[in-house]
């Protein structure tokens, strides 16, 4: 009996020690697209303010939207802006509006693993749509070789890799394909999770990159930094002006230039297939989803503080990780919007 009592007391004491709260933990979940820079930001911010921790889980934009709406996380992140139905659902469930805050600009690139090909292939919109629709099945198909004269493409079957989870990167990719291919638009359309005609599924940008690395003859779409960090080749895409552009900071910023001037108040905008000679056609903003009303004043202030830091110092980390900074006009507009968080 005594031994049991001692045991119970010991366990409770342990629990108490572990229970001791110190510091503020703010939970977020969502897009894998910007995960490299978010994890860097939250790490740096924690170094600055040791008692504030932003715990961000990279689970995909779909999960980010869902869990933010359910209220199981304090904020979300997505590269596919919430549609009107989702906005309404949030309002109904949580009793306040949800705000989109652009953080950085990124690019979704076609990345591949073709034996013997180490450089950048050129892809036309027709080629990309055809491949992902499953109509173009071999690497030496004329639609691909036509744009890549001088490159020796093998007669191997193309292995398409896409996302298995709800993804903003998928949204960006399918948004682009819907704009350049009527067949894609009617057959598959754009969403964070679609009914893919062909291909393997990987979980997160990480999973897709992993699969491509390991699977010869594969092609998929990932955020630029994932291809760059893992040294896998990625291709150039023909933009609306007819130029083949390989994703880089300049191309992404060029794509955002038009939108920057005409940014809507809720910051939801698509910049795929943007006009401009040097624009990279598969670019996108990525957003943090912040509820307009916070129950907890501490969390609210921490979030507002982070957003201000993100728009200033935070932007300096973007280019090092191959994301483009936000255009100045957008930054100014966001600073004003932060004030509306209560």
């Amino acid at each position: 009996m005594k031994r049991i009592a001692v045991l119970v007391v010991g366990v409770l004491a342990l629990g108490a020690i572990v229970w001791a709260q110190n510091g503020l933990l703010i939970n977020g979940a969502g897009a894998t697209f910007p995960y490299p820079i978010y994890s860097k930001w939250f790490d740096e911010y924690h170094k600055k303010y040791a008692n504030i921790q932003f715990n961000y889980q990279s689970v995909g934009s779909g999960a980010g939207i869902k869990q933010t709406t359910e209220g199981t996380v304090d904020f979300g992140a997505t590269d596919g802006p919430m549609n009107d139905d989702q906005l309404k659902a949030f309002q109904d469930k949580r009793g306040s509006a949800i705000l989109h805050f652009p953080t950085v600009l990124g690019a979704a690139v076609p990345t591949y693993n073709v034996p013997g090909v180490t450089g950048a292939l050129n892809f036309t919109p027709e080629a990309l749509a055809g491949i992902f629709l499953g109509k173009i099945t071999k690497w030496n198909d004329p639609a691909i070789t036509g744009a890549n004269k001088g490159v020796d493409l093998p007669a191997n079957d193309i292995v398409v890799v896409h996302r298995s989870d709800g993804s903003g990167t998928t949204y960006i990719w399918t948004d682009y394909l819907s704009k350049v291919s009527d067949e894609w638009k009617s057959k598959v359309s754009k969403n964070t999770s679609v009914n893919w005609p062909v291909g393997l599924g990987g979980k997160g940008n990480e999973g897709v990159t992993g699969l491509i690395k390991q699977t010869p003859n594969s092609i998929g779409y990932v955020e630029l930094i994932y291809a760059a960090q893992n040294n896998i080749p990625y291709g150039a895409v023909k933009n609306s002006s007819g130029n083949f552009v390989k994703a880089d900071l300049a191309g992404v910023s060029a794509a955002a230039a038009g939108a920057a001037k005409e940014m809507p108040d809720d910051f939801r905008v698509s910049i795929t297939n943007a006009p401009g000679k040097t624009a990279y056609p598969i670019s996108s903003f990525t957003w943090l989803l912040i509820p307009q009303k916070f129950q907890d004043a501490g969390k609210r202030d921490a979030v507002k503080g982070f957003l201000k830091w993100m728009l200033a110092d935070g932007q300096n980390y973007a280019e090092g990780l191959s994301y483009a900074k936000l255009p100045k006009e957008v930054v100014e507009k966001e600073k004003k919007a932060i004030n509306s968080i209560q």
Partner: protein
């Protein structure tokens, strides 16, 4: 009426309850009530689980009805959901697992029960029990880094070149797919087949074997033609148990199956299973119908494992009863 051994020796005419007051005074009634509450909690939790599964899939069941089982489409964009590709994937990978694991498992069980000296048999059984303890995610780890490349470099060419004309072995192969998942699952369920089969084989009465040997059969013949058939119901039970485990496996499968809702005869095709799709899509299912369709899938899986486990239990009990001489 209390049936356990804790009764007063001289309690009076029938065994069992003393007067209520006497129990209360000794604190027994309180003890009984406390433990009853906990036992009842178990029942309550189980009922609650089934209830939750049922109600949280109501939308999907209402909208799709029995069509859910035969619809191939899984499309969140148009909110159209069908369980067929996932049921297919679950069943195919489990069937493959059994095809590989059952011969190996029964063979090993025969060795352990009939041939190996008791000490070796026990030691090997010890190791096999440890194998059963390895968690799913570790099998997944091995699957991703060892079996997937093996599949791509050795197994696929090995099977595709000679047998590629058959629909089962058509390429291309990505490394991940039904067969890869099947192999990983096979490794996971072998221990179950071995332990249960070994036990039922050991429970076959000696005189069966001896009679066969006395009639001049070889050891193999006595084992295969007499002992194993005697135990076959129990062995079948072990197979069902293994199947039930394979159906519910999540992590190892989701890491090597390819995560595409495809129905294909080819073993090398990527696919998806019920448990795997729930793991991938549950936290992000925006929209009630989407989420409830996933819960409906969970309900389907639950029913499948429920039925199989029940059958398994009956079969194993039948065999061990047979073995101990209880007339069936």
């Amino acid at each position: 009426m209390a049936t356990s051994g804790t009764t007063l020796p001289n309690a009076g005419p029938a065994t069992g309850s003393r007067s209520f007051l006497s129990r209360l005074r000794d604190g027994d009634e309180i003890a009984r009530l406390i433990t009853l509450v906990f036992a009842a909690t178990v029942v309550l939790i189980t009922l609650l689980l089934v209830y939750e599964l049922w109600t949280n899939s109501a939308l999907a069941r209402a909208k799709f009805g029995l069509h859910f089982f035969v619809t191939q489409v899984w499309d969140p964009v148009i909110d159209q959901y069908g369980a067929l590709p996932f049921m297919y994937g679950t069943l195919v990978t489990s069937a493959l697992a059994l095809l590989i694991a059952v011969p190996l498992g029964i063979g090993a069980a025969i060795f352990l029960a009939e041939l190996a000296p008791p000490r070796i048999s026990d030691t090997l059984q010890f190791f096999i029990d440890l194998l059963a303890a390895v968690p799913s995610v570790i099998y997944g780890l091995l699957g991703v880094f060892i079996i997937v490349p093996l599949m791509r470099t050795v197994i696929f060419p090995g099977l595709n070149k000679p047998l590629g004309f058959m629909p089962f072995f058509k390429g291309p192969s990505y490394g991940v797919g039904f067969l890869t998942a099947g192999i990983v699952l096979a490794i996971m369920v072998i221990p179950y087949i071995i332990s249960v089969s070994r036990e039922v084989l050991l429970s076959v009465p000696r005189d069966q074997r001896e009679a066969a040997l006395a009639l001049g059969s070889t050891r193999w013949e006595s084992t295969w033609k007499v002992v194993v058939p005697f135990a076959k119901t129990g062995i079948l039970g072990s197979v069902f148990l293994a199947l039930a485990r394979a159906l519910g496996e999540t992590m190892a499968v989701t890491m090597v199956i390819g995560n595409t809702p495809t129905i294909s005869a080819s073993l090398f095709s990527p696919g998806d299973s019920i448990a795997s799709v729930i793991a991938n899509q549950f936290t992000e299912a925006t929209g009630d119908l989407y989420l409830q369709s996933l819960v409906a899938l969970g309900l389907v899986l639950f029913l499948m494992t429920f039925i199989l486990n029940g059958l398994a239990r009956i079969l194993i009990v039948l065999t061990t009863q047979k073995g101990s001489g209880v007339p069936t």
